[in-house]
Structures are given as C-alpha cells and as structure tokens.
Subunit: 340 residues, 2 copies
DNA sequence: CTGAAAGCGCTTACAG
DNA sequence: CTGAAAGCGCTTACAG
C-alpha cells in the first residue's frame, strides 16, 4: 500500500516549510506569488489531495451536513435530497443521509451520531411529533434547518409548503363539484403539515357553506396501501358521487385503485386530488389532479438557508449571534388534470 | 458555546488517566471490570460522545462510505440507496451520497473528494463508459463495489441484475404474441446493463426464429420523455400490432403515453414491457408488465459485499491480501400484468 | 514574506 | 492492570 502524499512531503520535495505550503494551498495572502505558484504547480503535479480529516480535526469543524429524513426512497424526499445535495456540493459540503422511518428513537440516535461526526449542520424532517431532536440540536449547538415540517412555528428555522393554503385550494376546487361530501385522507396527526392541511380543509368547507364532520377525515394514512384500504372502507358506507382529497399522490394512487375496482369513474363518480405532483404520475392515466410542491426548490432552499446560518456563525463573535429564525413557506400550485 | 466533553474531562473527573478511559470505552480487555463500569457509568451520565473526527484521524480510517450514483431521486437508485443506508447503518458506517448525473468529470471529481475524506470504501454506479473512476479507486487503494453496472466483467467486484436474462425473458414473452416486430427502447450504449440486455434480446429473437434488425433498437433512452418521443417516431413509421420492450419503467410510461395518444390499445395493438418494477406503478392503470429487479436487495448486497471487503482487509497483512473479485448477479423476475 | 512550534482529541505501543 | 508519551496531518498565532 503506497503512502499518501502529505503536506510534509510537498515541503520536503520543494525545500520549504510546511507552513508555507499550507499557506499556498489555502490561498493565504501572506505569501509571495512566485512561491505560491511553485507550490501549487508541484501539488498538482504529484496529485496532492489534502487530508480533510486532519483538516477538520484541527479546525474543529467539518464540511459535513447530516440529512435526517424518514425515507430517501420516498419520491418526495428523494427530490428534496437531490436539491440539497446539489446545492451543498457546489459549496463544498457533503451529505450524510440517514433514514429515520418516522422512528423517534432512531432519529435521536442519528442526531447523536451526527454530533460525534462533528457535522457543520443538519437538515431534518422530524419524525411525527418529535420535539427531542430539535432540543438536542440546540443543546449540541448544531445549526439546523427543518424541512417539510416544523415543530415550533415561530421558533424554528424551516422550509415548508404552505400546507394550509394547499389544502384550502384543493378543497375549494372540490367544493365546486357541489357534492356534499369531501373526504380527506390525511397523514399522521402529529405532524405540522397534516395539522395545517386540516386547517385549510376546514377553512374551505366553511367558506363554501359545507359543514365539517370529523368522520370524513381519515388520519394516519402514509402510503398507497393505506389509501387503498381507507378508500375501500369509505366506499362500503358511502355512495358516490363524492369527493376525496389525499395528503399525498401515494395515497391518491391507492385510493384510485379502490375506486376503479368498484367500477366507479373519475372524476364523474368520485372527484379526487392528490398532493406533491410526483413526476412519473403526470404520464399515467387517469392523469392525477394534484398540488405541485416545489420539492427540488425546497431542498435547495433548505441547503441555502443552512449555509447562510453557517456563514453568519463564522463571522459573528459569540456575543452577537443573532438568533434570527427564518421561515420559508413555499407557494403550492393546483394542477388540474383528469381526476377532478 | 459550551465546551464539548472530551476524554480528558472524563479522566480528570474520575481521577484516572486518559489511556484508561479510552480503554474502558473501547472495550479493551486490559482493564479491571470495576474501573470499566465506573468509567462507562460516568461517561453515560455526562452524555459523553466520542469525537469521531479525532478518532478517524488517529486511526487513519473512517467509517464513512461514499455512494456515487447518477441521481438519488431516480426511483431505482432511491431504493438501492435505501438498502445500502440501512445495511451500513447497522454496521456503524455512514453514507455520503453524491449525484454524478452520468457526468464523467463530476464523477472523477467526487472520487477525489472521497479520497480527501478518507472514506473506508465506495459504492459506485460508474457513469456511462467511465473506466477512469475505477482506475482512480484502485490507485487510491479504496475498496469499492460497483452496483447495477460493471466496467470489467471479470475484474470488478459488483452487484448487478442478470440483464441478459432479464431481456431474454422479456423478449421471449413478447415473441409469444407472434407479431414480427419487437422494438427495443434501450439505454445508453456504453453501459454494461444496456449491452447485456441487447444480447439477451438478440438471443431471444434468434431462438424464436425472428431476425434481428438494428433499426428496431433505439439507443440512448434515459427518461419518460425519451420513451415518449421514441415511441412517437416509431408509430409514425410502423403500424401496430407490434411489441415494445423498454429498458426501464420510466421509458415504458413515456411510451405508453405516446401509444394511447394515438388511440392504440395495450396489449391488443401494442404489447409492451418495462423493467425495474417501480413500486408506485403496480397501482396504476394499465398495470405495467415489467421485470422485477430486487433494488433493495441489490443495495443491501452491495453494502454487505463492501463491508466484507473492509473487514478482510483489516485482518490480512499486506502480503496476503487476496484479490478476490466477487460478482453477485441477481435473478430477474418477469411480472406479467396488463400491458402484455 | 517565511518558518518553528503548538495543539486539535483521540489510540496505541510500551514501561512499570 | 494502569498510565506517560508519541503521533496521526493539518492550521494558526507568533517570532523573525
């Protein structure tokens, strides 16, 4: 196994000090142009790659960012992560991705591991109702940005969709069908996005003169199968026409399956909306009416926000760290296609 | 900013040496049970988290694995990554995910960055035809596993689908329709999987007594849009009935869109197969006939293979490193649904 | 502009 | 069984 080239090897090869080589490579002003060029040329020639572990250790800070989400293979988070990765990459940061699967204990364990890795920051989608992670990050003094959900509306720094508005737009749209029933297949009730969607749904019903009935809302749907099963149960007790709004496209696809199985037609018998605009579904029949969420942009925005946080921290002294929470709330877009 | 607890703080707190604390925490045999318990209890009490950066630096090895794929938001890779992450996580490793977007230069740059991070190993899907990354990894002496593609059939360590067999099964299935034309919307021609699929396609044609015509194969399809456009072009020059096999479900969905737009029916006018079995599509009409690829298992297998490589390296002396390349070739499964 | 020296927090070979 | 000391490869405050 051949030895890796170190700063010391460069210094010896050129007959200068380690300090000088380090300064040249780090673009320190305090060095003559000639020397610098000499050193940089030589470093390139021998393909010197600085040991980032040593560097991070010495500087007591890494260029590593922890990304803790429920599941990287969920198309929603997959897009968010892509946005994050691309943005961080440009700024010289690297992403450590961890899947919590909505498991609070796992999430807490991950935060500890990230602390041990001395990550520069964390981008987190907190597991349903988990306040502890946020506390830990604060305790550890790790800058963080929440994405897609928040814990404390006014205190966290986060990037979310305007969920209240998204649900409001969807429900208003469905109200126009004039059916008296708009079912809502919602997500886990402990999550801010689900709570805000419920609020938007209620607001729309109220405005349209529909009464809110709690048994029209199904909580805790997380995937296609939940959508399918919930829809089946609804169809057993209710005769179309009616409307259905779904927390996600995933759930919507499951629900559509149940509806078609019973021989009903969309949007004629059941008018249905999804949420998220998962790319592949725009090519699929019946083309799903949904809410377009800027997943990539949410990723990009959370990465940019975190970088901003990190940089402001560099510049400020300990005293004057301004605890400015920032909230980015993205506009949803109603994409009307064929299912409503 | 409060100071982080170090080994030294534990030592001082307990009135023992740093060495002893380190031994206790690392489960060194060379320490009394009583001392060890004392130290472990205290460490837990003050919530001591070892500094992995310092540790990695000292040991000249990290628990970091680089994952370099084209795009983490591609549902195929998303599942593979999930399998990798879960497996590595159990073994105490962490994943640094990087998207190369089939860009050779970017991929090479990433390998360099991973070298700088001193990763323990790399799991790589090499960009189309890129032999350089593999060379670099060898030069840098970084253990690696290729996933979903290989560069040198006999020399690399990799986990792939049996692509030849997958295409063979699909084409045989389509041959049974007795149409004389089986189009093949293939991927980038520089990639081993695309080459092997072509071989399987040819084998099936030959066995079924169909002649191979190169103009029935469209190379370079990567996404829905390519599938859609290619299918449109085929429909302009060819009248159904005929068959189409697609390199991916993505491409298949695009192709279906084009077919339906022209008013043709599946499988009556056009019998079509995808490949990958992207989960969400099993709920969608017409339900796509496809090849089931064990994406999660491919991820798990590549992670396990890499860990095996890392551990064997630990145990062996420099002399006796056995350069055993391992190739895992996974069985494809033909899932016949509604499009053929 | 250049360089000697300290030190980041661990692990490990070694002495007792 | 315990601990003193060296050292992993850098950066940085400081002296010249």
């Amino acid at each position: 196994m051949k030895r890796v080239t170190r700063l010391k090897d460069l210094a010896e090869g050129l007959g200068v000090s380690i300090t000088t080589v380090s300064k040249a490579l780090n673009d320190h002003p305090d060095i003559s142009a000639k020397r610098k060029k000499e050193i940089l040329d030589y470093a390139k020639e021998v393909n010197y790659i600085p040991n980032q572990v040593a560097r991070s250790f010495r500087q007591q800070r890494t260029k590593m960012i922890g990304i803790v989400i429920s599941d990287n293979s969920n198309p929603f988070y997959a897009r968010v992560i892509r946005g994050i990765e691309e943005t961080l990459s440009v700024h010289g940061y690297h992403c450590v991705v961890m899947n919590s699967h909505e498991d609070v204990d796992k999430e807490i364990q991950f935060i500890g591991e990230l602390r041990g890795l001395n990550v520069a920051g964390v981008i987190l989608t907190p597991a349903s109702g988990n306040k502890k992670s946020r506390e830990l990050l604060k305790n550890y003094d790790i800058p963080y940005v929440l994405v897609n959900r928040y814990i404390e509306r006014d205190e966290d720094t986060y990037v979310v969709l305007d969920d209240e508005q998204a649900a409001y737009m969807t429900a208003r749209h469905l109200c126009s069908y004039g059916n008296d029933k708009i079912f809502f297949l919602n997500f886990l009730p402990g999550v801010s996005s689900a709570q805000n969607r419920l609020a938007g749904y209620k607001r729309a019903l109220k405005e349209c003169g529909f009464s809110y009935e709690s048994n029209m809302v199904v909580s805790g749907c997380t995937n296609q199968t939940d959508g399918y099963e919930s829809m089946k149960r609804i169809l057993e007790k209710n005769k179309p026409p009616f409307c259905v709004m779904c927390y996600s496209d995933y759930i919507a696809i499951g629900a559509i399956c149940a509806i078609q199985e019973r021989g009903f037609h969309l949007p004629h018998d059941v008018a249905l909306c999804g949420n998220d605009d998962i790319g592949i579904l725009s090519f699929v029949k019946p083309r799903l009416t949904t809410i377009g969420a800027p997943k990539l942009r949410m990723g990009i925005a959370s990465a940019e926000l975190l970088i901003e946080l990190l940089e402001s921290r560099q510049e400020e002294t300990e005293e004057e760290i301004k605890k400015e929470e920032k909230h980015i709330v993205m506009k949803p877009e109603l994409i009307i296609r064929e299912t409503s």
